[in-house]
């Protein structure tokens, strides 16, 4: 055999070894079939539709964060205008990004414009059309864009922390890239995403505030009425649960008048953990510790307000409002009808931090593990069946050359599987269909070559030159056909989601490997065979 052929076979052998190493993971031949299956299972990444798991797409309501910033600006603007004695008629939030100011006193309007441009550089000032002494203050578009991005980034981080704290295996948390503020969460192996969903969605905003009146009111109107219709400055009405409501009843809603500014928020927590409740045996509570700086505020606060109620506000709802019995430095407890799991979840959420905006779920798919196992079994069975059918046919129709094609096909599949193992590509159920299609369409390359060889033999060419011509003439057609399918697959990958992407990936890898095996490997085998054959013997094709 010529030295060029020897090099060819050496190269092919190296590729085979690399592939086998990638697939089986050890240089020694495996000892049992079960071991092979185990190795394969650990090296090939399975998609959710084969492993079972949950796929969630959620949308961050970014506009809430922008509206919140707008509200805060309205408050700050009022305060600063008041401090500088600039009189204005009405300050009102128009929409998420605009504030309307009416009836600015003309005498102080220069001061007003000055204040806005120096103290509020993120906002642009413009006169309000159709009104004298009216202005519209708008958030600058670049600031809005920044705020959007920050909100998305912070949401992603917080959700990632929370999911990692749940201890789930290998979750995927990422932007979907489909625009529109969406985040994708994939939880392999989670047959029931209910707990994860509630942990992800929890607002997590904790505030401790002073309760202005000792008693809650049965309705907002009653609360207002107790103050003569006007709330004292710096307070607000917040709904809460009625004390003494047990977990099985529907809690009545009551309303508290609270200080608007909290003394401690969730950002001041140093830690939070669940513990069995000391006062309600059988239930759980969440204990938290404050940072040193917060403790320096909290101590004096509690000391000054002994005997009054302090509201523990979670996500703008009063959770409990216990009495302050004595000075508390740096720790506290949230009591309520918690089970062990709900206490764990709340502690987790508090530790991970609050979400900057609320979350809405857009898509939820859960594949149970039994369906996943069935899909794998059916997919593998179909692949093996189609492989056998094709192999039998090739050998019958093309005789020894059919064996050549079968070897090339097997090699094609080995490269495909190995490449997926090395690249960490995910195998999905449509991906298995892609493997089957690779089998069917990959055979085409060999058929193109063999039919051409047969034709040239019929035209009277000698064996070697028939083989030469066969490969040469078929080469461009093989490339053409592969390119069009690869183009399809690329667009499927770009526009598709998980399972469809898996299909595109296996198809593309399979077809590219097919070019190598049907042209290079098949040719090498032919050359080897021709070299050992007698000149006049008929080529078995």
């Amino acid at each position: 055999m010529s030295s060029q052929l020897k090099w060819k076979f050496a190269f092919i052998a190296v590729v085979i070894l690399l592939c086998l190493f990638g697939v089986l993971g050890m240089p020694i031949f495996p000892t049992s079939w079960a071991q092979v299956k185990d190795n394969l299972a650990s090296r090939i990444q399975l998609g959710l539709d084969l492993k079972g798991g949950s796929h969630l797409v959620l949308q961050v309501q970014v506009d809430e964060a922008i509206g919140l910033r707008c509200d805060q600006t309205v408050d700050q603007l009022s305060k600063q205008l008041h401090e500088k004695s600039i009189n204005v008629g009405e300050i009102r939030r128009l929409n998420d990004t605009q504030i309307q100011v009416l009836n600015v006193d003309p005498a102080t309007s220069a001061g007003f414009r000055d204040l806005v441009s120096t103290q509020f550089p993120d906002w642009g000032l413009a006169p309000l059309a159709g009104s004298v002494n009216g202005y519209v203050i708008s958030m600058k578009p670049s600031v809005v864009a920044d705020l959007r991005r920050e909100t998305m980034d912070q949401s992603l981080e917080t959700i990632t922390r929370r999911i990692n704290a749940l201890g789930l295996t290998e979750p995927t948390i990422a932007f979907t890239g489909r625009g529109d503020n969406e985040i994708l969460v994939q939880l392999p192996g989670e047959g029931d995403p209910t707990r994860a969903k509630s942990v992800i969605q929890a607002g997590g905003q904790l505030e401790l505030t002073l309760v202005v009146d000792d008693q809650p009111y049965p309705s907002e109107a009653a609360a207002l009425a107790s103050r003569g219709g006007v709330l004292p400055p710096g307070t607000e009405i917040v709904p809460g649960r009625a004390e003494g409501a047990t977990s099985s009843q529907q809690p009545l809603q009551v309303f508290y008048i609270l200080d608007r500014a909290p003394v401690v928020t969730g950002q001041d927590l140093r830690g939070a953990s669940p513990a069995p409740s000391s006062s309600y045996p059988g239930q759980y509570e969440v204990r938290f510790q404050l940072s040193t700086a917060a403790a320096a505020r909290f101590g004096p606060f509690t000391e000054a307000n002994v005997g009054r109620h302090m509201a523990i506000v979670l996500d703008h709802k009063v959770y409990t409002a216990p009495v302050i019995n004595s000075r508390i430095e740096d720790s506290g407890v949230i009591e309520g009808s918690f089970t062990q799991e709900s206490a764990q979840d709340l502690a987790l959420v508090l530790r991970a931090g609050a979400l900057p905006a609320s979350i809405k779920y857009l898509e939820e798919r859960t594949v149970g593990p039994s369906l996943g196992a069935d899909s794998i079994r059916e997919g593998v069975r179909a692949s093996i069946a189609s492989l056998i059918v094709v192999m039998i046919f090739l050998v019958i129709y093309y005789r020894l050359s059919g064996v050549n094609a079968v070897v090339a096909l097997m090699f094609n599949l080995v490269i495909l599987v190995a490449f997926m193992a090395y690249a960490g590509a995910v195998l999905t159920l449509p991906g298995i269909a892609g493997v089957i299609l690779t089998i069917g369409m990959g055979v085409d390359s060999n058929v193109l070559v063999f039919e051409r060889i047969r034709e040239e033999l019929r035209n009277g060419k000698a064996n070697a030159s028939a083989v030469d011509l066969g490969f040469e003439r078929a080469f461009l057609t093989i490339i053409d056909t592969h390119v069009t399918t690869v183009v399809s697959a690329i667009f499927l990958f770009l526009f598709g989601t998980g399972p469809v992407r898996g299909f595109a990936v296996t198809l593309v890898i399979g077809l590219i490997a097919n070019i190598f095996t049907s042209i290079y490997v098949s040719r090498a085998i032919f050359d080897y065979h021709l070299a050992r054959m007698e000149r006049q013997a008929a080529l078995s094709i």
Binding site: L437, D444, E451
Partner: protein, 406 residues
């Protein structure tokens, strides 16, 4: 062994048969689509909720339907799934149309369905957890707490593995539902003590959720748009590639043939009541690629023969090319058809619509290469009026010959 030695069929002479066949197939398919008011869209595109449930016994579908209706789920559907492959005939799928843009959470429908099922089929378990729906991690936590193997404090990892094996036995070997704990006898490490501990701590529910799909309205329309875009871009890409490798009329002919294939396949979908889902779009794009391949093989041969057989009329060249590549065409289509047929029969319920699209697509795609694409090129060539490409004996040739004599 060889099937197609020395074939000499006049393909281009039979064009009117091909066109009639195509028109019939298109008409039948699209009449069906019109009668059903459009194509049946899967949940991926129309949004909604689907819950696949497996029962331990035969599910009383009518009873469940009444239960769902009385729970206020008026627009729910329930259907039994009979899959020739599954080892269980006790599956149902419960569907809910999707509501408007309400503020209710995405999974409100699923929760409502589960509530109904629990009410109808929930066992009086006395507060025990349901083994048939527990996750391996929760099972491991229970086993670690109860410690039936008396392994002591650091047994976490061993119980993790045992829990995984128990869950696998339930899911892989018993289809996801156990009717008795005795079915776990053969699991490695499941001693009688372990089984007893499971028995005391868990009940065996009557049903288990196989699969849940909930697609919100926004996502549905997003996916629909992406599917259409992907198809259009892929077609454009291929048109450009073929126009670049051949002439643009070949590209146009190939694209028209591919459109024809997709339209006929969609017609068949409607006839056989299959739903269009994302994987079906993947199948359609693949068959677009496959049909192109087939057409390219013929065009390649035409291009080669044009150089070799300059004096022959164009339709003859095309005929010869098709005959020469017939062997390859039948073989490849045959083998591809066999593989996707195996997939259709053996590949399971999830891939059924996908493999159906491929089965129909392979056949139609092969046919369209010589039935649609090649004739288009021939007709175009004829109307460009090349003298040499006109067939012998026709009126036009006589006219050309008369002119030549003048």
């Amino acid at each position: 062994m060889e099937f197609f030695k020395g074939v000499n069929v006049d393909w281009m002479g039979k064009v009117k048969y091909f066109v009639s066949l195509s028109l019939i197939l298109l008409a039948v398919g699209w009449l069906s689509i019109l009668r059903n008011h459009g194509l049946k869209q899967g949940i991926d595109f129309r949004g909604g909720t689907l819950v696949y449930v497996r029962f331990s016994g035969t599910p009383p579908i009518d009873q469940i339907r009444k239960g769902l209706q009385s729970a206020g789920l008026a627009n729910s559907t329930i259907q039994g799934i009979s899959d020739i492959n599954s080892n269980s005939k006790n599956d149902v799928v419960i569907g809910l149309e999707q509501h408007g843009q309400g503020d209710e959470s995405l999974d409100a429908g699923k929760q409502a369905i589960l509530d109904v099922l629990h009410k109808m089929f929930g066992t009086d378990s006395g507060g025990k957890q349901d083994f048939n729906s527990i996750t391996p991690s929760a099972l491991a936590a229970y086993l670690t707490q109860k410690d039936p193997l008396a392994l002591g404090v650091n047994a976490g990892e061993r119980y993790n593995q045992l829990a995984q094996r128990l869950a696998d036995a339930r899911d892989r070997d018993n289809g996801g539902i156990l009717t008795s704990f005795g079915q776990l006898k053969n699991v490695g490490g499941a001693t009688p003590a372990v089984i007893a501990s499971l028995q005391s701590g868990f009940s065996l529910g009557n049903f288990a959720i196989r699969n849940v799909e909930i697609v919100g309205p926004k996502v549905g329309s997003q996916l629909r748009r992406q599917a259409v875009l992907a198809t259009l871009y892929a077609l454009a890409g291929m048109l450009v590639y073929i126009a670049f490798r051949f002439e643009w009329v070949y590209g146009a002919a190939a694209v028209i043939a591919v459109f024809h294939d997709v339209l006929i396949t969609l017609g068949f979908f409607s006839l056989f009541h299959f739903e269009i889902s994302l994987t079906v779009i993947a199948a359609l794009l693949t068959l677009v690629g496959y049909s192109m391949n087939d057409t390219i093989v013929i065009f390649d041969r035409v291009r080669e023969n044009l150089r070799l057989m300059r004096r022959e009329p164009f339709p003859e060249i095309v005929n010869r090319s098709i005959n020469q590549t017939l062997s390859r065409t039948i073989l490849t289509s045959g083998l591809t058809f066999l593989t996707v047929l195996v997939l259709y029969l053996e590949g399971g319920e999830v891939l059924r619509a996908f493999s159906f699209a491929m089965v129909v697509g392979v056949v139609v795609g092969t046919y369209s290469s010589f039935g649609i694409a090649a004739p288009i090129v021939v007709v175009w060539n004829k109307y460009r009026g090349q003298g040499a490409s006109v067939r012998a004996g026709s009126a036009a040739e006589k006219r050309v010959a008369a002119e030549a004599r003048r």
